[in-house]
Assembly symmetry: C2
Homo-oligomer: 238 residues x 2
Amino acid sequence: MTSSIFQVIAFDADDTLWHNERLYVHAQNKFVELLTQYHDPKWIRERLDETEGRNLQHFGYGIKSFALSMIETAVELTEGRITGQDIQQLLQLTKELLRAEVELLDHVAETVSELAASYPLMIITKGDLLDQETKLERSGLAQYFQKVEVVSSKTRASYERVLRRHNITPEKFLMIGNSIKSDILPILELGGYAIYVPYYTTWIHEAADPPPSEQPRYYALEHLGLVPELLAQIEDGV
Amino acid sequence: MTSSIFQVIAFDADDTLWHNERLYVHAQNKFVELLTQYHDPKWIRERLDETEGRNLQHFGYGIKSFALSMIETAVELTEGRITGQDIQQLLQLTKELLRAEVELLDHVAETVSELAASYPLMIITKGDLLDQETKLERSGLAQYFQKVEVVSSKTRASYERVLRRHNITPEKFLMIGNSIKSDILPILELGGYAIYVPYYTTWIHEAADPPPSEQPRYYALEHLGLVPELLAQIEDGV
């Protein structure tokens, strides 16, 4: 497809290609269960969110950061009364998260394989480097992606660096993801195309308002299976 | 220098450009101090090393992994009797490591600046993505490096991927670093040049025997300040 509008199509990974946030939700529930003798569930959740938000600048994204924030919150909430056994359970939970099966979202396998036949595909994701790499391996999708970038944050500046590094023209770049804040807004700012495919739940630190639906080069779809048809329409200038 | 033997010169970062291992040694000493009421120092150190080694496959490299391994070891060694206050101290220590001043090794500032005038320079490092990026920023050296790669491991395969990605010919590639295992041996296997600049202490999981001194394309130097002279000799075919 030499005359395509798109030079490269990039995907977010967590909750765009495979389930992720629900693993964290499961872990948070376990965390609340563990501390429920000390505080009420709502307060425990709020404090964990707060610790995570505060630690993002130090720890960055990913499971190891989440684990350290869980442990910190547990110590603080119990005023140091948390037991070693409970800490051990949190470490155990962390390792379960790192080993969890990679479950693709509906429509992902066939859509990615179909798109790879027509476009160079790329992954741009944040999180723990090793964890993201092994998840891609375990997903069975690695063969379809020519480029993989694990970045420490998804800002306009970090996307600019990635595009420059791969000689990609922003106006010919399409990003597909489930986070308005991380996958959509920075790309639209750069003059690229963005498709928002919402996941059923969003981490509080990723929440943001979607752009207005009449924003040029911005699209929202119910699931990834609808992407090829949309791309055909865009390519045809419909 | 269009006729140079070297297309790119790459540096390891931790303990090659700036001090790193001594921060961990300091943290390990603090860790031993904290647990000294439970066990003898030698045994505490051995168990921490063992936990780190076992967790590398799950957690990868870097400070957050080290922190989780410290906490795990503390819980195990005390059979769960570790207090929340002590865990909090380990978290505090972790944040201190992440914020620690980046101190360049001797000769680094002037050598890097000198080499950058003649060669495209690159960093290839492993560890936490965010931590390595911010250390490079804080080091004041970022301007001299055209490319930065944070990788999850430094094996022959991971170097091959990096070189392919940047269209670098292995035979025209030079890597400089303080780890025989991670910076030297994989590069020599690929047919590249490698300069070993030992740091005064080596992490147990990086220990390996150096190649014989007559190995082609392998050099060992006492400090980074000796690199420009060696390169001049190599370029002159001396």
